[in-house]
Symmetry: C2
Subunit: 240 residues, 2 copies
């Protein structure tokens, strides 16, 4: 992991841009010793410093947590393959013409998971030790929509992830299978009027999580309209 | 309202037993001026000082809220009519023999609502003024199961109720109709494996709330197994 720039904000939060084997990312650390580490994965079409990712990171750091985010494959400062271009065009075309994008989003998400999971595991290996023992045993994950499509199989493969905020994604065979093996405590966010995720598919995926602690939080509104109180609530859940 | 006894606990919370036109109840007030008033309705077969009601009241009072609870008709220190006895026997018999109790519970709940709503409105009229102006404009309701069966039509009739914690109850024609007219912010608790409330009936009732702010919190477990973190969360929601 090669740090390329460091800035400290007025509230004592340090932001470090880095490059990890060609994957650009940002590490936020709180003023004092972090009490845990949160892996924060952005949604489709977004990037490591998108408004949502940055707000989430600052809220977490203010609560004492370190946060790391990466540009997903084909997103942000990373090159797009012809496959990325194909899916981006196809998903956009379907959404703008009001056609069903569920299947093609699920296909692209599966591809993203296959590419991103090894990157996240490598970042986790690199960060856990320097951040200290307590942090290493308290790893959380926060990613909805495409962030959950990679986060759910990541958490299934990574028992170091103890707490996870997922949501805005529906059941597929692969995600359902992964969900049944996750032991982390899960907060699952569902938007009641999500135009990209059929309600029943979201409820079915929540149903599949087999761990003893899981909570579904459902709110009115579309895919991008998770209310602000869920942000605060998720920070409390991860910091808890 | 005639106060029959007053005690103050070590944390400065005052508990007053009272009788209001023949209805026994308890009023808890915090050490300082209350910032709001919560109407707390217990579930079927319980009473005004049941463990759950008392824990809820102490958590709310510690957060600065006044809390009032009543014995429901046919519950606690109140006389049971032959109808109460009939329903209590019938519901118990169905539950212990594993038969479906949904319809008979819904019937009894509707009867309870018709009897209890005028009592709650009268208590609210009596308490709002003495507790002061700020409290009177910030009234919350907290009742699940039978408590919601009366609380949902109560909140529909009482625009003074601005915030409400409901749950553990399924859609019926009467509850669905009431839910569509409620303007209060709603927190709805659903137990994913509720043996008394079919999952779809709970989801359908959540769907019916027409106000702009509502959140569903669903957790694994049966009817009586709402996790402790939802207690803290509900207090924060009501105190917010």
């Amino acid at each position: 992991m090669r740090y390329t720039s460091t800035t400290t904000t007025s509230d004592g939060i340090t932001e470090r841009d880095f490059d990890h084997d060609g994957v650009p990312g940002v590490l936020w650390t709180p003023a004092g010793d972090p009490t845990g580490l949160v892996l924060s994965a952005h949604g489709g079409g977004q990037h490591k410093r998108a408004l949502g990712s940055t707000a989430r990171a600052h809220h977490c750091a203010a609560a004492g947590l370190a946060v790391v985010t990466l540009d997903a494959p084909g997103h942000g400062d990373r090159p797009r393959t012809p496959e990325d271009e194909h899916y981006a065009t196809e998903i956009r075309a379907r959404l703008t013409t009001g056609r069903d994008a569920t299947a093609v989003v699920a296909e692209y998400n599966a591809l993203q998971a296959a590419r991103a999971i090894p990157e996240w595991r490598s970042v986790l290996d690199t960060l856990v030790e320097p951040l200290g023992g307590a942090t290493g045993s308290d790893v959380g994950f926060w990613g909805v929509s495409m962030g959950s499509a990679l986060g759910i199989p990541l958490a299934a493969a990574e028992p170091r992830i103890r707490t996870a905020v997922f949501g805005l994604v529906g059941a597929t065979d692969a995600l359902t299978l992964a969900a049944t093996t996750i032991t982390a405590s899960v907060r699952f966010l569902l938007q009641w009027d999500d135009q990209l995720v059929p309600r029943d598919a979201g409820l079915a995926l929540f149903d599949a999580f087999a761990g003893p602690r899981k909570s579904l939080h459902a709110n009115p509104g579309g895919h991008g309209e998770v209310p602000a109180h869920e942000l605060d609530d998720a920070v409390r859940f991860l910091a808890g």
